[in-house]
């Protein structure tokens, strides 16, 4: 029997609109790392059960590391649905961004603001109804994605039975290593704790005073009755222009909230022997800015052998500079995406430019055909180094 070569295999499962990646490292005896496992409430395709069983089979229920990049359901929901089964696993460590550490005052404050705004927006949208907002459905979907994460985050923070496994990571800390995987070191690029980037993770302050009609936060009796008058100067048309101006742009605020949550994403750079893998979670502009503005960012990106595309290939989740700094024709790309539930995701021009830069070494998770699920583009020919399974794509990198 020929000796097995040392390699990294990245397996992207087809979960619907969501992320689930398994890294398997080593030669004969492989070590496994699970990065995210979740699906969006509005982007389900009914494959999660099978993916869970497949993960058990692929890992032999041994995981050196579980990473949850950020607290959105489409990255973590599986950890709640199958929490019991994960407790049966032999797990090394569980990594979360520092923003999820409930013993951290800054993190607690952020979380409180996010949830309060999320709740207020959900209530406001529910009362206002779908006709009131142009982006009603998309806004509701992003809010649900935030509020649905609670049970999964509880399970993750408990470390599936052992709290000591849980580590909260901050940008700039010394590279991490894992017991039992020699040759592996992991840089934490984000989220930063620097005050100028905290703003990118904080919901707009004014909106903490957001109101929904009939909720306790409205102020109907601003002044005593004697000052109130039903008649005045304005005509119906002018009044309605003012009503429009006074209306809370709840849909746009929901997107803003989605953005601040995405910016808490853990961005990890895996170095395994000479190979480099970049997993940016759902980082958006503010998160990327926190590290690509540093001097060595260009060098880091020039060394990347594999990129997981952030935020399902959406508009501002992969800066143009980043695409151009990646090594031309020398890296592979995986895009966990699907055309439902958001019309604007994935963003085709972005995927095309990544395809060009990578020398066509790009696959989308929705190219795996699942009955009744939204279909992605057909893949006529797999790029070099890629393989297709029933519910996954593999990308293998020799080291």
């Amino acid at each position: 029997m020929p000796e097995k070569k040392n390699e990294i295999r990245i397996r992207m499962y087809r979960v619907g609109f969501g992320d689930c990646f398994l890294l398997s490292l080593g030669a004969a005896e492989k070590q496994h790392i699970l990065v995210d496992f979740g699906v969006h409430q509005s982007g389900k395709i009914g494959t999660l059960d099978r993916v869970m069983s497949q993960i058990e089979q692929d890992t032999g229920k041994r995981l050196a590391l579980i990473v949850a990049s950020h607290a959105h359901a489409d990255h973590v929901s599986g950890f709640a649905d199958y929490a019991d089964r994960f407790t049966q696993f032999d797990i090394g460590e569980v990594w979360l961004p520092w923003t999820e550490n409930l013993e951290d005052d800054d993190a607690k404050a952020l979380r409180k603001q996010q949830l309060a705004l999320c709740e207020a927006l959900q209530m406001h949208l529910a009362v206002s109804g779908p006709k009131a907002y142009a982006n009603y459905a998309a806004a509701m979907a992003t809010l649900m994605n935030l509020s649905d994460d609670a049970p999964a985050m509880v399970a993750l923070r408990e470390g599936f039975g052992d709290r000591d496994r849980v580590k909260y990571l901050t940008a700039g800390e010394p590279p991490r290593r894992l017991a039992g995987i020699p040759g592996l070191s992991i840089d934490v690029l984000a989220p930063s704790r620097e005050s100028k980037f905290l703003g990118r993770m904080t919901p707009p302050a004014e909106q903490r005073f957001l109101t929904a009609r009939g909720s306790s936060t409205t102020m109907p009796d601003l002044f005593e009755r004697q000052w109130v008058s039903e008649t005045g100067l304005l005509g119906a048309r002018q009044k309605s222009a003012l009503h429009e101006l006074a209306a809370v742009p709840a849909d746009l605020l929901a997107f803003t909230l989605d953005n601040v949550m995405n910016n808490t994403s853990l961005v990890l750079l895996f170095h395994y022997h000479q190979k480099t893998l970049l997993f940016p979670g759902d980082a958006q502009w503010g998160n990327w800015q926190s590290w690509i503005t540093q001097d060595d960012a260009k060098d880091i990106l020039a060394e990347v052998d594999f990129l997981k595309v952030a935020h399902h290939g959406s508009h501002n989740a992969t800066p143009r500079d980043v695409v151009s700094w990646l090594p031309k024709n020398k890296f592979a790309v995986m895009v966990p995406t699907q055309e439902e539930p958001f019309d604007s995701i994935p963003r085709m021009p972005l995927l095309r430019s990544l395809e060009t830069q990578s020398g066509r070494a790009l696959v989308r998770s929705d190219s795996i055909v699942v009955p009744k699920a939204p279909k992605g583009p057909k893949l006529a020919k797999l790029p070099k180094g890629f393989k297709r399974g029933e519910l996954w794509f593999d990308c293998t990198i020799k080291v």
Binding site: N135, A138, T142, P204, A205, E206, Q207, R208, F209, T211, T217, T218, M219, P220, L222, F223, E224, W227, V228, S229, E230, T231, G232, L233, L234, G235, R237, Q238, K239, A241, L242, H243, L245, A246, P249, L252, L253, F255, T256, D258, N259, V260, Q284, W285, G286, Q289, H311, S314, H315, N316, A317, P319, R320, F342, S344, I345, P349
Partner: protein
Amino acid sequence: MATKRNDSRLYPVPEERVLKVYAFDPSRGRRFENYLSIHVPYESGLQPGPIGEKVAVIDYDATNRRYYLPVDLDDPAILARGGLDPSESNPQFHQQMVYAVVMETVKRFEYSLGRQVKWAPCPYPKDTPARGRLRIFPHGMQMANAFYDPSQRSLFFGYFASSPDPTISPVSQPVFTCLSHDIIVHETTHAIIDGIRRRYKEHSSPDSAAFHEGFADIMALLQHFSFKETLLDTIQRTGGLIHRSQLTPYAKAEGGTPLVRAEATESNPIVELAREFGYAMGNRKALREAIGTPANPEDMERVTEPHARGALFVAAVFDAFFSVYIHRTRDLFRIAYPDGRTVVPNYLHADLANRLADEATKTAARIQNICIRALDYCPPVDIQFGDFLRALVTADREVSPSDGAGYRAALIDSFRARGIHPEGVSSYSEESLSWPKFSGKGPEAENPSFLRIWDDLHELESHPDTERQGRLFVNLWSKSTRFGKKIGLSPEYRTYVQSANMLHRVQPDGSLQRQVVVEVIQTQQDVPIFPDEPARGTFDFRGGATLLISRQGEVRYSIVKPMDGHKGEGQKRLERQRDYFQTMASSSALAPYVAFDPKTHLSYCAIHRGY
């Protein structure tokens, strides 16, 4: 026999109306220096609202969908007491306060500009009530915000419930942005600048977005130095060093821990903005401060967020202001303390405190003048802080060539210390900073109407109508392509006259100088933000010139933002704007779900909401 009560032969029409307002906002409490009587121009036909010639207060609450009864400031019961007393629970006092402070701000600008303030034209329909005026909604909506909306030509002041914070107030209380003197001045300044430079609301760079905000803050802060009582209190409690952020307590605390309010240190109200608003938002400090951090020449490179960048501009102006003040009052301190004793706060001689207050007020008024007058010397589009410095130096040299008190020198120094560097200027000397004088005028055969502009303008001012305005513009520009090129315009784009205003200046020798300021604009429409992806949004690229034209029809200055220009200046500008919009498009929090539109996503309201 009944006599007419208001016989004008017996009682001349008063010049001013006295109205009470808060000097700051209700959070400073009922202390005497927080209650202020201000004098606004008397309007004889003032309607309930109040609705006057220039502004109309309309108290409609769009969240609760109801009106609050309009105040009649001509009611004898109100007239006799010099306006309603400050009260948070009486909406009519709120109406009075916004009216008074807006009018005070307008008066301040008119004094410096030497002409009436004109509002930007507004497209709203003919049947709109109070058309032609700036409309003010003191309780516009429930929202922790106040803003100027050019499309409605209105100021909207929101109200909201403060976030309960046990260290400040255990219960949530209503906060009215229309009771913050600072916020009113700030928003009014937005509206006034919009009338002077209509294109400044179009953001084309980090500076242009920050300019409106910074300038509005400067006006609000400088206004504090006209509040005599507060100023005296601050002078006593800082020992004359009015820029300090903390006030010495009235009485020293026993054992170091203050037990009564008078023993507590307080923040200096004069150098902070919108205190109540800031606290109500849970920030535990005022919204913004005049002097934040030490000057660093690299600041301009690092800071891009509009309010933060505006704050650097504010800090530069206030650095200059306090420097001049300290310079001007050194002699007073030497007279009062000839043996070099340290000045002890709270123990200044009343005469000294009064003299210091006078100096501070005068210095502030002068700085305010310099800043407001500079507006007429600013380019019509795409303002950079460096342009403003050049405008300021040029404008001030015209009225005060020698700079005896060192205002300009101080301003140049403080701008330089913060890294504000005008493009294409080789040194910070006054000569290099001044806009180059334009030599010669266009051949009369080509633009005979330059001479007539003065008469046309007079006619337009007395009978404003669009037809006349159109004719003025045609007269001015239709035949002067070659001259246009000479003053820096591009022959490729249509030239549009945006505004024409008269400028009256008293020269150093006492003579009155009269000029016309004309803004001309050129536009390249629908430039794609991403050249390879036009569908991702477009912007209008604008250039043009501000012309200062003498009584003889001679162009004295042409302050240009070229569309093309030699050395590819226009192209450079276009690339810079494109960069800016690309960053905005990419950083927009809405980007994944909604297509970027610079016109709506970069508005005042959107910036406040933090998209």
